[in-house]
Amino acid sequence: VAYFALGSCWNAVAQVRSYYVDWRMLRDVKRRQMAFEYAHERIRINALRKNTILPKELQEIADKEIAALPRDSCPVRIRNRCVLTSRPRGVKRKWRLSRIVFRHLADHNQMSGILRARW
């Protein structure tokens, strides 16, 4: 049996979330990191592909190269999920929250400057 000298470090027993909400959120995180890694390469190869100046043979080779890059490196596969609930739809971009969480927080006065609409 092991004891732990708690001391002052356990004064605040807040709920610490050290895991992602679900596996889909984890996969989305991985896609974002990969898109960041390969961003420069992708933009350069696309610049070679999308112009009318270079010869077509070179462009075909560039096509094959970009198709050979890992699939998760393209930014199109990133989905802006809700940060707290991982909801894929109904997410407001500015707050990165889904509409349900947004309403919850706003009604409990946790969002600075957000009021219920009234006019």
Partner: protein
Amino acid sequence: MLFSIYHRAFTGANTLSTCIIRQCEKKDVSDQNETTTKDVKPEVEAKANDGGETQQQGDGKVEQVLSKPSQVKSDGAKSGKEGLLDLLGAMKVEVTNKRKLKNLKTKQSFETSAQYKSKPAAMESTISMFQKATVQASAKSDALDPDIVAAASAAAATLPNQSQAESELLKQLRQRKALTEAQKKGDINNLGDLIADMKVGKKPARQNAWPADQIRFDDDGQGYTHDRGITGELANIRKRRNVFPTKRLNIFSPTTDQQGAKPTLWDMDFANELSLSANQMPRNGFEEMIQWTKEGKLWQYPINNEIGLEDEASVPFHEHVFLEKHLEEGFPRQGPVRHFMELVVAGLSRNPYLTVQQKKEHISWFRDYFHQKKDVLSEADVDLS
């Protein structure tokens, strides 16, 4: 802001043109049409043409290659000088906010850059044509970059009143440089001195300025003072624009104690370990935010837009914009590859978000790529000189 000026300038000219000098000329021509008067323009053009032609006839050493760019340069430089003169004339203007200052500064730096760019191509002809230029440049190079000074003297040499124009130019350049540096340091007091010779717009006189404790009378004749309490005092204090008075009270003597030796690496390591072992969980929201700021999850306040890029501020702008020198080696001179790379360089010159190092890496990536695909290019009959 600097690059927004370029954006406005270069959207007119198509990016398919291959010569920057030509682009400068286009911009200067458009400038000319806007700013100079009709009767000055043909005079100036005739003078430039005469000067160029006589030099070509007289100076046998000047090569055919140089003579054309020199004439182009003098043409473009002439109209550039006109624009510059107009700018200088318009310098003594109501300057009421920082943005106008920055715009003026960037406009002027663009004009100097136009001359600077045409300088390398025509430096020999400049020296042969205007011998006084370099002598005068050495006399007035105290704080300015010598390249800028040489460019300014070359610019002034094409004007009628050479020495006066040059001294004016250099004075303005020095002022602008001091202004930028003062702004960078955030030194408000010196900034005031620098802007002292610029006219400042006055606010309209405040109407209806009642004295604070005026006794007002009701209908029944009893007077009352408007009791505002402490809010009035606070409002008055906020109205004063400078909270810190300019004159020192001299109550405390300036600190002269020494910090001691700089904390060594071991001391810092010890302090770090101590903090790690002692405080693990944040006790409140503030400590949590401090922890997040240290980790990099939270921005640092006051918000600094250039938080990772302090070194980039010291990189001069011409390294960002004039990237053709990287195209000299490793790429062919003619052909579709060159055309493509010139477009890439044009795009990079308009990009304010990349560092110079990143731009160079971009270009070197393309160099390696085209080297690898040499055989494909030769198959497609592309010139690989």
